[in-house]
């Protein structure tokens, strides 16, 4: 059973068994504008929910990406390094990393709640 959740800092996590796939929401990519670079985490990094684990750059701004859940990075989407525009094109498809989950905050939203949240 997989579960899609969103943080109020506009990241999504698709949790399947003990592994979460993480990315930023379509709303967030729209707000950020054309991304030109992503500073990816490394395999082995520890994520703490609510804390920055990576940053994304547009031409004129750098924004932190917050961890929606806590855990340890087991895989990174290296393709984003040379093609950060993938996030602009398909935010829900362009995952940033996969994480072995250690804790899931209880204030995460489901898709409907998040849609309401960004209204």
């Amino acid at each position: 059973m997989s579960k899609l959740v969103f943080a109020n800092t506009h990241e999504w996590a698709k949790i399947e068994d003990n592994v979460a796939t993480i990315g930023i929401s379509d709303h967030a990519q729209h707000e950020l504008g054309d991304l030109v670079f992503i500073n990816l985490p490394a395999v082995g990094d520890t994520l703490t929910a609510g804390e920055a684990f990576c940053d994304v750059e547009s031409v004129k701004a750098v924004s932190d990406v917050m961890a929606p859940i806590s855990g340890k990075v087991i895989e990174v989407n290296e393709e984003l390094e040379s093609a950060p525009e993938a996030i602009n094109e398909d935010a829900m498809g362009a995952w940033i990393c996969k994480v072995e989950v250690t804790a899931v905050p209880d204030d995460l939203m489901d898709e409907a709640a998040y849609a309401e949240f960004i209204k």
Binding site: F37, V59, K60, P84, E85
Partner: protein
């Protein structure tokens, strides 16, 4: 425009040197390179190339340059001529000290003038730019606390409106950065400051006037809060032009300052540098200044010395000496009276523009100092025309745009232009710029699209910055 490499033709020569008077020495082959690619052009090609480039550049001599925070005042030509005198330009930095007395004399006299102007007791001219000065000043602060075994002072407080160099310099000097929010008047929030200071506070960095062009009225209280907590007060001299000769950072309570000779003291920016960022300090910090310092011996001769607990060197030699000569000529020309008059007129010019624009370009409702920030948010909401669009449209009118999107306080100031006319502009220039800004405002309601596509009259239209950053091309890769 062609690149210089595209003008290159094999075998063409420009400058030539005296024929070799001794036999040719051949460097051992294993050390030699096989190829060297450099342009080959005749002198006329070179002259036309750079003349063409210069026609596609815009300096203070080209027109009005109200670029906030950068103090683009007129750069007097006498300064250039003096800096290139052989007695300065042909002197080697490692000459014996008795052969460079005049250079040292000039540096000592410039330092003395700058100390008097800022209310400081010590000064180094070694930093090559403002940010370099910040870094140097923060190292003095670190050394000071360390010398007192006060080793827990690891944090530098920085207002959210500060120049980006402030937090970056603090980190380079080994500190952590704590951001201090602004209050409703866009000054330092005193309660937030009181809550932030403590035994871990090394210093607060501040510009005054602030980056919004407003005098920080609470400066005495701020100074007390920081000093009572055992911290020091750092002055970012970016905005000194508003108050030089009127009030001194040293008298406001600042312990360390940096100046920008390329802003306040009329030396040209050169398309991005070289600048010069002297650092001044109160007496208790002087022993930590970079080495070498310049001292006068009993006979009245200058010599190099090393401050007792110097932080070391921050650059190879003594700083950007030629820039110092230009600034010294400026200080000597204006003198004590002229310096104050310049500051007053910088403030006058800014307030005049503000008064003539604030009905349509909202700004803070109090006298500004040498610059002011207008809020374009309402215009954008009404018309879709952004600060950037106004800026780009000004280019078509032959005016360099103001600083855009700085300072940035999310949700408070997002769409902004920071206008700094400087004192060397006359009323006619200001009136023309005012007329342009008013015209563009009206145009925003009539033809937003025209503004959103500006500039229309330049060699290029808006460049694709996203493409430039995603797939960087940072050198010419063709054959030449």
């Amino acid at each position: 425009m062609k690149l210089i490499f595209e003008r290159s033709r094999k075998g063409v020569r420009c400058a030539t040197i005296r024929p070799l008077e001794v036999s040719t020495y051949s460097v051992e082959k294993k050390y030699l390179r096989k190829e060297l690619a450099l342009p080959e052009v005749a002198e006329v090609d070179l002259a036309r190339h750079y003349t063409e480039l210069s026609r596609n550049a815009f300096g203070v001599d080209s027109g009005f340059y109200p670029l906030g925070s950068c103090t683009m005042k007129y750069n007097p030509k006498i300064n250039e001529e003096l800096a290139s005198l052989p007695g300065f330009s042909r002197v080697h930095p490692r000459q014996e000290v008795d052969t460079v007395q005049d250079s040292l004399h000039l540096m000592a006299d410039l330092s003395a003038d700058l100390m008097e102007l800022t209310g400081m007791d010590g000064m180094t001219l070694q930093p090559c730019a403002g940010a370099h000065g910040e870094f140097t000043g923060l190292l003095l602060i670190a050394a000071y606390h360390e010398s007192r075994k006060d080793t827990k002072r690891t944090k530098i407080l920085v207002p959210d409106t500060a120049h980006g160099t402030n937090p970056a310099s603090a980190v380079m000097a080994g500190f952590e950065v704590v951001n201090i929010p602004s209050n409703a008047e866009k000054g330092v929030d005193l309660d937030a400051l009181r809550a932030a200071v403590g035994p871990d506070t090394a210093a607060l960095m501040l510009t005054n006037p602030t980056t919004l062009g407003l005098f920080e009225k609470n400066i005495e209280e701020i100074s007390k809060i920081v000093h009572d907590a055992g911290g020091l007060l750092y002055y970012d001299g970016a905005n000194l032009n508003a108050i030089m000769g009127v009030v001194r950072p040293g008298d406001m309570g600042f312990d360390v300052i940096h100046l920008n000779l390329h802003k306040t003291f009329s030396t040209p920016h050169g398309g991005g540098g070289p600048g010069s960022g002297p650092v001044g300090c109160k007496a208790m910090l002087a022993e930590f200044l970079p080495k070498p310092s310049i001292v006068k011996d009993k006979k009245g001769n200058y010599e190099f010395s090393c401050p007792k607990n110097s932080i070391g060197k921050v650059s190879t030699f003594y700083g950007n000496f030629a820039v110092m000569v230009k600034a010294f000529a400026y200080v000597r020309t204006l003198g004590s009276d002229g310096i104050k008059e310049a500051a007053e007129h910088a403030v006058l010019n800014a307030n005049y523009m503000k008064a003539k624009l604030e009905d349509i370009y909202p700004t803070e409702n109090r006298y500004c100092m040498h610059e002011f920030v207008v809020d374009i948010q309402k215009l954008k909401d009404q018309t879709g025309v952004s600060a950037k669009d106004i800026a780009k449209a000004m280019i078509d009118k032959g005016i360099h745009p103001p600083t855009m999107y700085f300072p940035h306080i999310p949700g408070v100031i997002d769409e902004s232009l920071m206008i700094e006319p400087t004192e060397t502009e006359n009323k006619e220039t200001l009136d023309e710029a005012i007329a342009v800004l008013r015209e563009l405002y009206d145009l925003a309601f009539k033809d937003a699209k025209y503004l959103q596509e500006a500039p229309h009259n330049m060699a290029i239209s808006r460049p694709d910055e996203v493409a430039a950053a995603r797939k960087p091309i940072v050198r010419f890769e063709g054959e030449y």
